[in-house]
């Protein structure tokens, strides 16, 4: 039986208070898609990091802006797209500093992108600055 693609989307105001709602949304979809508990936890964290970046960096905490989280799954793969229409950035120019370096500089940030890369199976950005920025993330669904 071929499984149809299931498509979901969630649109919320750009505020960190909505991160809990976003996490519930992706964890419920992740479980429906058949991810293991441990993969659901990875998905939850990766999407939280992606959305926190949008709220903080793309929109500078402007509550009138909207964060979009799309989810699509079939029997093999769960794909998540986090969209914003904010200022955009060049992911390749972001310097990945060692934890030791960040500590020495008393930094409180700089961990999000590496978490996303580590937690998800495929990650890429599609950026059209000022128009639309999309972070695409995939998690393969392991058959149990």
């Amino acid at each position: 039986m071929a499984m149809i693609e299931r498509k979901f989307s969630l649109h919320v105001p750009s505020s960190t208070e909505n991160l809990a709602l976003i996490r519930e949304y992706v964890t419920t979809i992740g479980a429906s898609a058949g991810l293991s508990d441990s993969d659901v936890a990875k998905l939850e964290l990766a999407v939280d990091e992606a959305c926190a970046n949008v709220i903080e960096h793309a929109y500078g905490h402007d509550l009138t802006k909207e964060v979009t989280v799309r989810a699509i799954f079939d029997e093999d793969t769960l794909s998540i797209i986090v969209e914003d229409t904010g200022r955009g950035f060049d992911p390749n120019s972001v310097k990945q500093e060692e934890l030791q370096e960040l500590i020495a500089k008393h930094k409180s940030g700089g961990l999000g992108l590496r978490l996303i890369q580590t937690l998800m199976d495929e990650v890429h950005y599609e950026i059209i600055p000022g128009q639309k920025n999309e972070l695409h993330m995939k998690k393969h669904i392991r058959k149990s």
Partner: protein, 122 residues
């Protein structure tokens, strides 16, 4: 409430025991940061953070630990972290925090570690 977060601080002799509960994410991390800052400003740099009721942490929460640890160790203090649930511990480990911080099973073990090893090199 969609984002429950509770923070309690107990001062016990020369130790501060901060217990954090619920979700430590970009929304709640500023509250934790503020309280940790206040402890340091009050000269209290021997801190146990009891995470036994912490159900979730994101990089915003980890960032609070990261940004204060050097200053605290420069004052011969430390942050010992206790009671991490497996899911939360995993997030600490992915980023290598277990190499930098003492992670203990419970508050008692964390208090004991302060006796054996009051501070660490960063």
């Amino acid at each position: 409430m969609p984002n429950p977060f509770v923070l309690n601080t107990t001062n016990r002799e020369d130790l501060s025991i901060m217990s954090i509960e619920g979700y430590l994410d970009a929304h709640t991390a500023p509250q934790f940061e503020e309280k940790l800052q206040a402890e340091i400003e009050a000269g209290r740099t021997r801190i146990v953070v009891d995470c036994s009721k912490l159900s979730y942490i994101s990089s915003a929460g980890l960032g609070v630990f990261m940004s204060f640890i050097e200053e605290i160790r420069e004052h011969s203090g430390d942050i010992k972290i206790s009671g991490l649930a497996p899911k939360v511990r995993h997030t600490f480990e992915i980023l290598g925090f277990h190499d930098i911080f003492d992670l203990l099973d419970d508050v008692q073990a964390a208090v004991k570690r302060f006796e054996d090893k009051p501070t660490r090199e960063v």
